[in-house]
Symmetry: C2
Subunit: 617 residues, 2 copies
């Protein structure tokens, strides 16, 4: 099998056409020389975690932000990197395949070779297993030829998704030393980048010269924070899923007799489901974050769906489309608690057959109430990040089953007078993950690949490549790098009975922001989605013509220019300083003191640990 990796292969006409596409570079990365400007040293959003993080990551905490500027940029402090000795870089896919991954390899390769054709890029084959076993493949332009702008992670493959145990970390370090790597680039989501952060710290501590760099690639779109606006793959996956959801909506409307329950891959957070709802306007979206916040039980949700069906039946409508994020099951309080009991029994070595008899009385009662298919799925071993096997738990079928039971009951009681409810269930995920990447993902991934090379040239360790201002055209994109530690936080709540409180700093997946604009847009439109069947069909992903340059709603509506706003604040502070110079009037000084006192008071309160209502995601 291994010998198959990196082979060139036969492409379809469209694949060939896509392979010819050359992603654009933003002006700052064009040419052979790039400037690096360093910002202030960083802290972390959750100020209460800063101390814990700085203790756990003494070598990599607090490093400054880095901005990459064009060589001609007039920034006095920015340094130009002129010297480009040949370097050796390793790269590995860690985590689930997301469309665009291959373009990170391509961008990285191009950026290295432009600066020094003797630099070497080694891809680890078979994912982190290949990293531990030193199985490599040299990435050349030839090898890349049939993988440029193509989906999947199949040029190198991937395996288990972690570099976490002492053995794994040591094996990775040995590989980097043996292969004399100057840099190691890890391509993956939140979990893989947390692992990368740990690796960077360990390397620094052990004086291993290899610099570790991360790249945000995740179809879930949940590696999201002030520095990372979106992940490679999210755009494509949402577009392919929205195409399919819209097709199902039109199907529902044409036949007028089915309710489609569609579960969407995307791990715990509901980013994919939210974006797809904004693109395709299904009748109902059960958002995991809303359910968690309102502590809705499975019965509450069933009731909510039944009410929607009832209201639609009164208008003579017997069809509809309901979207469900795969993470929903962990957002429903009682199911979450049940899963925690099951996982803790797994941890105690209780075999699957015996788990049900070890459950607490209430958990056992809930378990027995559930239909057999879902019981089997809930009993599965948890994943490596301690979450349930979300892709295996058919929450959409459970809800369809409970809704049917409830409507049958209401029919007998005479409270539901509509036609018989008929459900068709779907799980969309695998069929989107391997898609040809959208133009946006091709560009974003290629640019990130380039940035990795600049991070390594600047000698930085423990950084993630970042591009901001993404909602604008490529020539407005801003390129930089942020320390992993600036994205970390520490979760303190216990994960259920028997589980160890989580105190380890990590880059946690972000949940959907219920104060964000994307969510606001959904709430505004939801009543009309529910009743009016305003289905919208974004159509199949286009590479030419109309729709080819569309971006996700999530990206377009959010005001994410964090870097720009940080600069704006700096300007205000400078202005205050220049107005209130010694010699200014008593009144000006008095006004300045009073307003600054109030500003600092407000900020102190807002930065206090207790202020952030952490939602258990």
């Amino acid at each position: 099998m291994d010998s198959d990796y990196g082979l060139t292969r036969e492409l379809s006409e469209l694949q060939k056409e896509r392979a010819k596409y050359q992603p654009e570079l933003p002006p700052c990365l064009q040419g052979t020389t790039v400037r690096v400007e360093f910002g202030d040293s960083t802290t972390t959003t959750d100020s209460s975690s800063a101390h814990a993080i700085s203790r756990a990551f003494p070598h990599t905490f607090g490093q400054p932000l880095a901005h990459f500027l064009r060589a001609t940029a007039k920034v006095p402090d920015a340094q130009i990197i002129e010297d480009h000795p040949p370097i050796r870089v390793g790269v590995v896919f860690s985590g689930r395949q997301s469309p665009g991954g291959h373009n990170v390899l391509w961008g990285l390769h191009d950026a290295l070779k432009i600066r020094n054709p003797d630099s070497i890029l080694l891809g680890f084959v078979g994912g982190t297993e290949g990293l531990f076993a030193q199985k490599t493949l040299e990435i050349t332009d030839d090898a890349l030829s049939t993988y440029k702008n193509q989906g999947g992670f199949d040029m190198l493959g991937r395996s288990v998704d972690q570099i976490r145990t002492t053995e794994q970390v040591n094996a990775a370090m040995s590989s980097c030393k043996d292969l004399k790597l100057d840099g190691l680039v890890i391509i993956g989501g939140a979990t893989s980048n947390s692992d990368a952060a740990q690796l960077a710290e360990t390397f620094a501590e052990s004086k291993c010269p290899t610099k570790v760099v991360g790249v945000p690639v995740s179809l879930n779109g949940d590696l999201k924070n002030q520095f990372v606006e979106t992940d490679v793959g999210f755009d494509t996956v949402c577009r392919v899923n929205s195409q399919l959801i819209s097709n199902v909506c039109i199907d529902a409307l044409s036949a007028g007799k089915y309710y489609y329950f569609i579960r969407l891959m995307g791990r715990r957070a509901s980013h994919v489901a939210l974006e797809c709802a904004l693109q395709s306007h299904p009748n109902l979206l059960i958002l995991g974050e809303e359910v968690a916040l309102s502590k809705l039980t499975i019965f509450d949700i069933t009731k909510q769906i039944c009410n929607a069906i009832q209201a639609r039946a009164e208008k003579g409508k017997y069809h509809g489309v309901v979207l469900i994020p795969e993470g929903l099951v962990e957002s429903i309080p009682e199911l979450y608690a049940l899963l925690q009991e099951i996982h803790s029994l797994h941890g105690q070595g209780v075999s699957i057959e015996n788990i049900s008899s070890h459950l607490s009385p209430w958990a056992s009662a809930l378990f027995e109430f559930l239909p057999p298919f879902i019981r089997r799925q809930l009993l599965l071993h948890p994943e490596s990040d301690n979450s349930a096997q979300l892709s295996q738990i058919e929450t959409e079928k459970l809800l369809a089953h409970l809704v049917e039971t409830e409507l049958d009951k209401q029919t007998k009681e005479g409270t539901y007078k509509g036609k018989k409810f008929s459900a068709v269930c779907h799980f969309f995920g695998y069929q989107a993950r391997g898609s040809l990447p959208s133009k946006f993902d091709c560009d974003y991934a290629y640019v990130l690949g380039h940035i990795c090379s600049h991070i390594l040239s600047a000698g930085l360790n423990g950084y993630m490549a970042t591009v901001t201002n993404l909602k604008h055209p490529v020539n407005k994109w801003k390129c930089g790098a942020a320390p992993f530690t600036a994205m970390m936080s520490v979760k303190r709540y216990s994960r259920g009975p028997g589980a160890i409180p989580i105190g380890k700093p990590a880059i946690h997946p972000a949940s959907v922001d219920l104060k964000g604009k994307a969510y606001e847009l959904l709430r505004e439109k939801a009543p009309s989605f529910l009743m009016d069947d305003l289905y919208r069909n974004p159509g199949p992903l286009q590479f030419d013509g109309s729709g080819a340059d569309d971006k996700t709603f999530t990206l377009s509506v959010e005001d994410q220019d964090y870097m720009g706003r940080i600069k704006k604040l700096q300007e205000y502070l400078d202005k205050v300083r220049s107005i209130v110079k010694p010699g200014c009037s008593q009144d000006v000084l008095k006004a300045a003191l009073s307003t600054m006192a109030s500003v600092t008071d407000v900020l102190t309160v807002m930065s206090a640990p207790s202020f952030h209502g952490q939602m258990p995601l």
Copy 2:
């Protein structure tokens, strides 16, 4: 609900762009005048059925083929239709939604209005139920505006898929009379066109002046015969499915640990699965027609898949993609027989709960052997065409389950030494059916709509609109009409114990031709598909640029120019007649007599009823 039909609606950018697309017309249909040429009177492929069909359809059997030619065409016998009084036409969607359906309405509307702006096109809303209940919507250019080149059947909707019982036929006739319709256009697949044929005959017999015209629209691609090369919707559905299958293939290859079992919607025949396999190169396709011909049991098929997995494991490959047509379950002899027993018990009024206890001993043994989920699905009521509810029977899960059981056994016995087998199952159908139609389907449907208008202008009843030479560009397409009766046959085998022998002439769905070129292409490539992972990704359906004008392999590789070859034969016959004129030499006459005798002998044998090995599809 009904009031929602035909409403204009909000479109996405891509939908708007597509709505502006104007399908091309072949030269013969351009301009306001068209000539009609009538060919020889028709018979039917299965000559043994001809008598039965002529008795059942005395008014509509044997009508000639009609060819539509440009007004300037130099064909002496062709008549020009100059007079275009205003006419009233009804149109109904009958059967499952297929991408392109709306364009039939549009083409029909345009062709009617160009010839006489006072002509009226009425769409029946809610499918055949709307036809019976005389619920109509006038189709205007305004109403069409947001449905041009769009997927679904949602402009008018659809309901039950039949016009078969005496009540239904009478209701349809009353509607046509009450609404003073000159023509009724029925849009659907094989079953709906069989119903249309019956309606045409009944109308002719009852002197109802409404002419009945059919249009081949079916995602299954199984309304296929010498006159019909493909159906509207098949191209789009195969392309969307192939996109998803390819994505799953790339996913499989990236992770290297799953076997994907994908079942494809397409009714009894395997056209969709065959075309998708040719487009995306999965490892294995279990073709229903092969299984039926070789009488493979469920164990044979399980064994075949296990052997494939074993062979791949020996090369270190633990992933793969297996395609399964939804009709497979009816092609497996013992499952087919079991289904027949179940359906016959349904027919006797035995309730679902009691069926298993009424089965014959062998059927009962098979039934009890099967896992519970599939038992429940096999017990479902048959569909209106007497087939099982194929979309509800998860054959892919059954096979994955049996393969897992077998490999577990082989692992214990030490004959399988590979890694643990892990399957992920999918059913693709609903998510493709509502897609935006491909350019091909847009064009084909629009042209068929135009032809319907010409059929009605020519005063023909009981005809299907046809376009041949479809694999060539639109300007080479040949337009015509063929009598329904010329596509009919009579099946004589009994459909299992208790079932009534089927003796009624009908347009039967065509199975995949195991002597055809598409199948030959598959067989040639199958060994390499199996082992080499030559996955091909046709990518998402494009409307611009590369791939936008692709056509299905099935259409492109087959040599389907039946009409052209009929003309060629005519030329040979004419040539023989001109050579062997009275006065020719004895030798020439002798040679002619001897070869003609042999030709007629061969043809007589080949046309004999017993020659055609009818495969029970």
